[in-house]
């Protein structure tokens, strides 16, 4: 039955023209209603999707990325993501409208990903909806570091890297221990074109057979700390040299060592202790005085020269090795023996509650309190050892991470293995200074300070 018959059943008679008008009217009216209904549905869904919290984590260039978004199944029929390709990512739609975004980002910046979707009830294929959501890709921090040479015309200029090898010839066919040392400007300094603040000085005194080693770390925030570390190393080593060149002091000192080794009683201990104080303690104090004099001549506070100091002297006797040391500040100083699985820290690092807080040679209180000052002086008699190592915190922080780890043999073993993998520490290998320099370039996130290490082996 058609529409006209239905009308006549209802006793409605109309002309053809009127009937035509009526049908047009009804179609238009229904169409409008239908259209509005479709539109409403579309807008409701569009708003619902717009409000959807789509939060995905930030990515980093070169680092595997993975994130998941979930879209409501009841309103979205099909979808895809635009804008991922450009940054090296892919969208992988899975069942139940779950989509994983993955890949290795290639481009850094803030981007907008566009979600395009076909909503439920959408008839026209071309009638797609969309919304954007942000993604942040961090640059790879490794690529951001700049290496700006230190201007050579600054006050107290020192080269950005330094290395040395002290070769001690074999005696009676027996190889003698050598010293290798290297110092590298930290990335954080290089990035700004700031100078290296670390310094070292190592020597072997041919005439008397003593080794003298000093490593110092100038505080990054102190204006002239590079001169402070330089003066600390230089003055302390010079003092030791002059002490050993004095026949009487040298003779007495070595005699006290031998006597003490024969019988470790209180009297001999005191005699030896006093000599160590004259040698190492005075070396430290003279360094402090030298820095103070420099500060006075410049008319600036001594804290502008803030530096740490690790100082060790060492000699082989027929009963074994004698080592004496002084340590103020952070870093590490240690006697290590690989075969015996043995290590002995020559003191404890000075560290505060917060990172970077330490004590410096330039603090007058270091010398004011005799007990704590004596505590910084150490000596040890060892049969033999693989290495005596002095390093600044630029090396010890990334290698040991915590103070507690400094007391773990596994950590010292790991450090030794790490170094010797790249640095051939065989007798008289002068090349190892370049290998050590290379090794110092290791990557460790957040650890970009100057790095210095001296090894007697």
């Amino acid at each position: 039955m058609d529409l006209k018959d239905r009308l006549s059943n209802l006793m409605i008679e109309c002309s053809d023209a009127r009937f035509e008008d009526f049908t047009q009217w009804i179609v238009k009216k229904l169409w409008n209603e239908y259209d509005k209904d479709c539109m409403d549905k579309r807008v409701i869904i569009e708003n619902q999707i717009k409000e959807l919290p789509i939060v995905i984590p930030n990515g980093t260039v070169g680092k595997e990325y993975s994130a998941t978004i979930r879209l409501p199944e009841d309103v979205i029929e099909d979808y895809w993501l635009d804008g991922l390709d450009d940054i090296g990512l892919q969208g992988n739609p899975e069942e139940h409208n779950v989509c994983t975004i993955s890949g290795v980002p290639t481009t850094a910046g803030s981007f907008e990903i566009v979600l395009r979707y076909k909503y439920k009830g959408c008839i026209d294929e071309k009638d797609l909806l969309q919304r954007g959501f942000p993604i942040v890709i961090n640059p790879d921090p490794r690529t951001l570091w700049k290496d700006v040479p230190t201007p050579e015309d600054i006050e107290y200029y020192q080269p950005d890297r330094d290395h040395t090898y002290v070769k001690v010839e074999a005696r009676d066919g027996i190889p003698q221990k050598d010293i290798v040392a290297a110092s590298q400007r930290g990335r954080s300094h290089a990035h700004e074109g700031n100078p290296r603040d670390d310094h070292f000085r190592v020597e072997y005194l041919e005439d008397c057979g003593w080794y003298v080693m000093a490593v110092a770390d100038g505080a990054g925030s102190a204006k002239y700390s590079r001169k402070g570390s330089w003066l600390a190393c230089d003055t302390s080593v010079e003092h030791c040299k002059s002490y050993f060149s004095d026949e009487k002091s040298l003779h007495d000192f070595e005699e006290y060592i031998t006597t003490y080794n024969g019988e470790a009683n209180d009297e001999y201990r005191k005699l030896l202790g006093d000599s160590i104080h004259q040698l190492i303690g005075n070396a430290a104090f003279k360094s402090y005085k030298a820095i103070e004099a420099e500060a006075v001549s410049k008319g600036v506070p001594i804290k502008n020269y803030a530096t740490t100091l690790l100082l060790a002297v060492c000699k082989k006797f027929d009963f074994g090795w004698f080592v004496a040391s002084f340590w103020v500040g952070d870093g590490a100083m240690c006697i290590y023996d690989k075969e015996r699985k043995y290590f002995k820290l020559l003191g404890t690092p000075d560290e505060g509650e917060f990172a970077g807080q330490t004590r410096f040679l330039t603090m007058p209180e270091i010398f004011r309190d005799a007990t704590s000052f004596y505590g910084r002086l150490k000596f040890s008699i060892e049969q033999d050892f693989t290495a005596l190592m002095l390093m600044t915190d630029g090396v010890s922080d990334p290698m040991f991470e915590t103070d507690a780890n400094l007391n773990k043999i596994e950590k010292w073993d790991a450090l030794w293995e790490n170094i010797t993998k790249e640095v051939k520490l065989t007798d008289d290998n002068t090349e190892s200074q370049y290998q050590l320099m290379q090794w110092l370039d290791f990557w460790s996130q957040g650890n970009h300070d100057d790095r210095t290490i001296a090894i007697l082996y």
Partner: protein, 222 residues
């Protein structure tokens, strides 16, 4: 397997940066929108600094009649600027915000122990366009803030109605912005980001940071 980088990052030394932002009614509209633009610009400029990417951690605390931790201390690498909502009107509880800050610092900032490396000393930036409504609480909390060992506290008084006197009790480093528009905030946050970078580099000896000179739009209050 856990991501080795995130493991290292969790162990490493962080530079905590706390941003306290006034969201009282008067900040509604253009001012807060400008702050957001400024913060975004600050974040993207910090992301260009390798040391900042490695160490900076940011927290945002807002204060109006309520105080809220909008973002707990989060590594810059992962940080996403949260939505900042401003109520229509109401008081400015700066004191309560500083109290909450102390709690956050105590819970979040790591001190050195033998087993763990401590964080760098934290930085604090406080931005307000008014004055503390909770004067008593504000005065009481100041000595507590001093105990938290901030490496630097920078207070910014934004706009005509901001009072600098109370801020001067909190820190010597008080700055003022004449207007609350996006140009001023952008300059301010650019300067904040430069200051954070200085914080990154200042290692050890100094007790107080030497901040970079502020831009023209930022007036130093002496």
């Amino acid at each position: 397997m856990p991501d080795i980088y995130s493991l290292l990052r969790n162990m490493g030394r962080r530079l905590p940066v706390y941003m306290l932002i006034d969201t009282s009614g008067s900040m509604r509209g253009e001012p807060i929108e400008s702050v957001k633009v400024g913060l975004e610009a600050m974040l993207s400029s910090l992301r260009q600094e390798p040391y900042a990417l490695d160490t900076v951690n940011i927290s945002i605390i807002t204060f109006d009649r309520e105080v809220k931790v909008l973002a707990p201390l989060t590594p810059l690498e992962d940080f996403q600027l949260p939505e900042i909502v401003v109520p229509e009107s109401g008081p400015t509880f700066t004191g309560a915000a500083l109290e909450l800050l102390c709690k956050q610092v105590d819970a979040e900032v790591r001190l050195s122990t033998p087993e763990r490396k401590g964080d760098w000393m934290p930085l604090l930036f406080l931005l307000t366009d008014g004055k503390p409504s909770d004067k008593q609480a504000y005065n009481n909390v100041i000595p507590e803030i001093k105990k938290r060992h901030f490496a630097s506290i920078v207070a910014c008084a934004a706009g005509m109605h901001a009072k600098t006197e109370p801020l001067k009790q909190l820190t010597d480093q008080v700055f003022a912005l004449d207007t609350l528009d996006s140009a001023s905030f952008k300059k301010f946050f650019q300067w904040v980001s430069a200051s954070i970078e200085i914080g990154n580099k200042s290692i050890g000896a100094t007790d107080e940071l030497e901040l970079p000179p502020p831009p023209e739009e930022v007036n130093v209050i002496v």
